[in-house]
Point group: C2
Chain length 210, copies 2
């Protein structure tokens, strides 16, 4: 597969297109227009066509896109045709909710380790997974066959940077930070900062505009 | 304030710029360059300048942006200079985590009602808020002075559409759906579908590309 330079904004929309495509497939749709697919994905047809043009030549003018073919292509570009291993640190309410989030396991993300430092949480079982002490992070990452792809940080804000450092030292290649604080990682490690209040702020814009 | 037509993709980046700006302000920075700010926000300087150009004329060529001024302008555009009222339905683990999420209250989003239908959850207290039965949704929304701005759905997938319908009928103007299923709302109601696995899929792309 050609590894073209795809803009970051396009990459962030690919999972949204994938969700819309899967929804259409579940409804029994076999063909979709760029207009129809864009609407389900919350964008416009011109943007959608431009985004998909980075992946290759799809769709037939005047006919549309083959839903199953496009699901397969987008999945391939997103690297979803193989399973990914995940560790999660911070098993408070948010961390517990993330471990149990149906969307993760359904999409091939397998949680191989859960960690906390609170004696009241270490040793408990969350969704079939026993919570380990954070001090076992390094050995468990090392013992995971194929390594650990993704680390999720769901700690309180003051602990987040220290946890990120330990994940990087242990060899975790990509990190999602849900703690409400900005953290740094070395070049070569992929980082996404997720701020759940971003969605509320976007709605606030549209409420003001009405 | 002029209500220009701002592209949706720009709107989704404004909260990210705001977070980066607040982080810089907390570090004591008074001026930032478009390059520096873009880097903290995970985009590039050209995109940042284009996005901010929709809001007006900011920054001085060769000097940069005044951090505090830009925080104020972006907050104004996002409608964050007034508080927003929020109700949340579904007080399982994710809902409980959202009620307690520090980022919400810090940013002026006030949860005025929490609802569930599980007898084991109704009546319990989550972050100082007593969980009501879902059947009290309509009366509590009606009794909230100024109405309810935003409804958060954190139920299981099969319940999400029904809850959305009830929120809309009760007069809620904007909805965020965290349930892993696509729902419909009438025109005029603002909807954001949040799929937490989107972030994992974006990381998967970058892991594959390495």
């Amino acid at each position: 597969m050609k590894k073209a330079k795809i803009p970051q904004t396009t990459i962030t929309r690919l999972p949204v297109y994938l969700r819309a495509l899967v929804m259409l497939a579940n409804k029994g749709e076999q063909i979709t227009s760029s207009h129809g697919l864009a609407q389900h994905a919350g964008t416009n047809a011109a943007q959608l066509r431009k985004d998909l043009s980075y992946l290759g030549e799809f769709g037939t003018r005047g006919v549309g896109y083959d839903v199953d073919q496009l699901i397969n292509e987008v999945s391939k570009w997103l690297g979803l045709l193989r399973d990914r291993t995940v560790v999660i640190v911070g098993l408070g309410r948010l961390g517990g909710a993330l471990v149990g989030y149906q969307g993760f396991s359904q999409k091939g993300f397998k949680v191989v380790g859960a960690f906390d430092r609170d004696p009241a949480i270490v040793g408990t079982v969350v969704d079939g997974l026993t919570v380990n002490h954070i001090n076992d992070l390094e050995s468990i990452v090392k013992d995971t066959q194929g390594g650990v792809d993704i680390g999720i940080i769901a700690t309180q804000a003051p602990s987040a940077q220290g946890v990120a450092n330990r994940m990087v030292d242990a060899g975790v290649k990509a990190i999602i930070n849900f703690a409400p604080i900005t953290i740094d990682v070395p070049a070569g490690v992929v980082l996404r900062q997720v701020d759940l209040s971003v969605e509320l702020q976007i709605l606030s814009y549209y409420l003001q505009k009405r």
